[in-house]
Amino acid sequence: MGPTAYIARRLAYGVILLIGVLVLNFFLIHAAPGDPAETIAGAMGGATARMLADIRSAYGLDKPLLTQLAIYLGRVAHGDLGMSYYFNQPVIDLIAARVGPTILLVLAAQVIAITAGVAMGVFAARKPSGPLSAFVAVLSTVGYAAPVFWTGIMLVILFASIIPIFPVEGMTSARFSGGFVAHIGDVLYHLALPAFTLAIIFLAQYSRLSRASMIDVLGADYVRTARAKGLSETKVVFKHALRNAVLPIITVAGIQFGNLISGALLVESVFNWPGMGRLAFDSVLRRDYPTLLGILFFAALMVVVANLLTDLSYRFADPRIRTGGR
C-alpha cells in the first residue's frame, strides 16, 4: 500500500474514532449527577422555577437526550463546539486560547523524555551491570512510583525556596519587556520545570525500555557483522544498533501520548500553566458540559493525530513495515 492510500485510510479511522469519542463523552457527562441549569442559575445568584425553565430551553436542555446528541454532533461537524455555560463564550475560543501552551508542554516533555531516556538506556546497555544501569533501574522505579503532582510539588518547593533558579508559576514573567526572541527565551525558561516534571515518569519508562531493547540488539547477528566489517564501536552502537533499538520506543511513545496529555492537565494545575488543564478542572466543578466536551474532544484529537504521526515515523524507521515484509 502506498503512503497516500495508507494515510487516507488512517485518517478515515481517526474520524470514526473521534465520532465514537464524541458520542461516548456526551452520554457519560449526561449520566453524571447534577443539573447544569441549576449550576448556571447558581452562578447568576439563584433563580425561580420559571427562570430555570428558560435557561433549559435556551440551552436546549429540555429536549430529549438523543435529540440533544443529534444537535450536538451536527454543530461539531460545522466546527461549533457550543457556548460555555459559565463563560458564555464559544467553547472553541476558550480552547483555542489554551491549546497552544498544552501542546507546547506535551511536546517538550516528550522530547525530553525520549532524548534523555534513550541516551541513558543506550549508555546503561553498554555495561548492563555497571553503575549507570543501576541508576536507570532506580530511576525507573521512582519514576513509575511518584505521581506527577507530587513530583511537581516537590520541584516547586525545591526551586521556589531552596534553589530559586527556575520560575515555578505561569508561562511568562509578569513584567516582561523585550523582543520576540527574548520572549521565546522567557517562555522556555518558564517551561523548564513543568516539562521536566511531566517528562520524569516517561523518561523512566523510555530509559528502561531502551536499555532492554539495546541489550537485545547489541547481541544481534547484524551487530556482530558490523563489528566484523571493522566499524568503530561508536558507529556500531549509534548507527547499526540504535536504529533498530529505537523501534519499540517509537511504538511506546505513540501509545503514551494519551497518558502524556492527561498528565499535562495535572502538571498545568501545579505550575499554573495556562493550558487546557485548568479549564478542564474548573469545567468539571462548574458542570460546564460544552466546555468539558470540547476539551475531551480536543484531547482525543491530539491523541489521534499523535498516533498517526507515530505510525508514519515507524514506517519511516522500519523498512519492513514500509514494504509490507516479514
Binding site: 544481534a220 547477528d221 547484524y222 556482530r224 557483522t225 558490523a226 563489528r227 566484523a228 566489517k229 571493522g230 566499524l231 568503530s232 564501536e233 547499526h240 536504529r243 533498530n244 524507521a317 522500519d318 523498512p319 519492513r320 514494504t323 515484509g325 516479514r326
Partner: protein
C-alpha cells in the same frame, strides 16, 4: 617469500580462550595450533560447541570480553600478533584483510539498511572511497556474486531478499575490500541443499578470482570433501586430527573423525530388506559440557575404542603431516 616453503598467512599457536560462566571458568579453546596458507582452503570441522566458531572469532579479535578472554597463545597474521594488537589496528584489519561470513544470512544483515548501503559502508571505511564511488562498487560486487539485477537489488532491504541472496550479499560485503583471508562460519547451514551447492561454487570462484585463503568452519563432512585442501578436526576445544583433506577423508585415524565421516549419507546405498534405506549413522552421546571435562580424552565416553589410559590422561596431537591425538590410533599404527 620463498616459493618452495611458503610462509603461512595465518598462524595460530597454542591459542587458549577462557570464558567465565556460572559454572566458573571454562576453557573453550585449549592450545589450538593452525596454519592457513595463502590461497588454500582450510576446513575446520566438529560438532556444535567444539570451539570452531570461537577460533574464528579469536582470529577476528571479536571474542566478547567479558565473558571471554584470550588466556594464552598467539594469532599471527602475516607475522603480526593480533592478540596483542590495539583495537584501532584490529579494526583496520577486520573487513579489510580478514573478513568473515556467518551462519545466519537471515539475521546477519541489518534489517534497516539496504544491501547496497551495507556493502558500500565497508568500502568507504577501508578504501577511502566516496559514497557514489562506493555505491557503484557495491553494485559491481553484487554482480560478481551472481545477484540478478544488481542495480535494483542494491536498493533492496534484507527482508526483500531470499536466504541464498542474503548470503551472497554477505559474501559481496566480505570480499569488498579484497581480503587475504575469508573466514566462513557455517556459511551454508541455514540454506537449502541446491543453494548450498551454489554458494560453494561461488566461494570457489571468489577464491580463484581474488586468491583469498578460506577458513571454512563446518560440521558437515560433505562440505569438507567438496571444498577443503586441508582439514583440522576439533573436539571439545582441542584439535584431535589434522591433515590433508584426502588423507582425512580416506584414512581417518581418530575414532571421532571416523564417526563424522560415517555420518555422511551415501547416495545409492543398498536398501534394506523391508525396502527402507539403512538408518543414518550417528555418534552416540553428546559433546560433554566444557566445565565437566576430566583429565582424560574428552571423547573417551563416546569412543568405541576407549581403554583405561584414555580416561586417565589426555593424548597429545602427534604425527607427521597427518597428526592425530588418540592413544588407540597410536597403538593401531604401531
Amino acid at each position: 617469500m620463498n616459493v618452495g616453503t611458503p610462509e603461512p598467512l595465518l598462524s595460530i599457536r597454542g591459542l587458549k580462550v577462557e570464558f567465565s560462566t556460572r559454572h566458573g571458568k571454562v576453557t573453550a579453546l585449549d592450545g589450538i595450533d593452525l596454519d592457513l596458507m595463502p590461497g588454500e582452503t582450510l576446513g575446520v570441522v566438529g560438532e556444535s560447541g567444539c570451539g570452531k566458531s570461537i577460533t574464528a572469532l579469536a582470529t577476528m579479535g571479536l571474542i566478547p570480553d567479558p565473558p571471554g578472554r584470550i588466556a594464552g597463545g598467539h594469532v599471527l597474521f602475516d607475522g603480526e600478533d593480533i592478540t596483542r594488537a590495539d583495537p584501532r589496528r584490529l579494526r583496520s584489519l577486520r573487513g579489510a584483510d580478514i573478513s568473515m561470513i556467518f551462519q545466519e544470512p537471515m539475521t546477519s544483515l541489518n534489517p534497516v539498511f539496504t544491501a547496497g548501503d551495507q556493502i558500500a559502508e565497508a568500502i568507504m571505511l577501508h578504501q577511502s572511497a566516496g559514497k557514489a564511488e562506493a555505491d557503484r562498487m557495491a553494485v559491481e560486487l553484487l554482480r560478481t556474486v551472481g545477484i540478478p539485477e544488481p542495480e535494483r537489488r542494491s536498493r533492496s532491504y534484507p527482508h526483500e531478499l531470499s536466504g541464498g541472496m542474503r548470503q551472497r550479499v554477505m559474501i559481496a560485503m566480505a570480499i569488498s575490500c579484497r581480503p587475504r583471508i575469508l573466514i566462513a562460519d557455517e556459511p551454508t547451514t541455514a540454506l537449502d541443499v541446491t543453494v548450498q551447492a551454489q554458494i560453494f561454487d561461488l566461494m570457489r570462484d571468489i577464491q580463484r578470482q581474488f586468491s583469498v585463503a578460506i577458513m571454512l568452519i563446518t560440521h558437515d563432512m560433505g562440505a569438507i570433501a567438496e571444498m577443503a585442501d586441508r582439514v583440522a578436526v576439533m573436539y571439545a576445544g582441542r584439535i584431535v586430527e589434522k591433515g590433508t583433506a584426502d588423507e582425512i577423508l580416506d584414512h581417518p585415524l581418530h575414532p571421532y573423525t571416523r564417526g563424522l565421516i560415517g555420518c555422511i549419507p551415501v547416495l545409492g546405498k543398498e536398501a534394506g530388506e523391508e525396502g527402507r534405506m539403512p538408518p543414518l549413522a550417528e555418534i552416540p552421546g553428546i559433546v560433554p559440557p566444557l566445565h565437566l571435562l576430566g583429565r582424560g580424552c574428552a571423547f573417551a565416553d563416546r569412543c568405541p575404542l576407549a581403554f583405561d589410559r584414555c580416561r586417565a590422561e589426555s593424548p597429545a596431537l602427534e604425527g607427521g603431516a597427518h597428526k592425530v591425538a588418540c592413544f588407540a590410533a597410536e597403538m593401531e599404527a604401531a
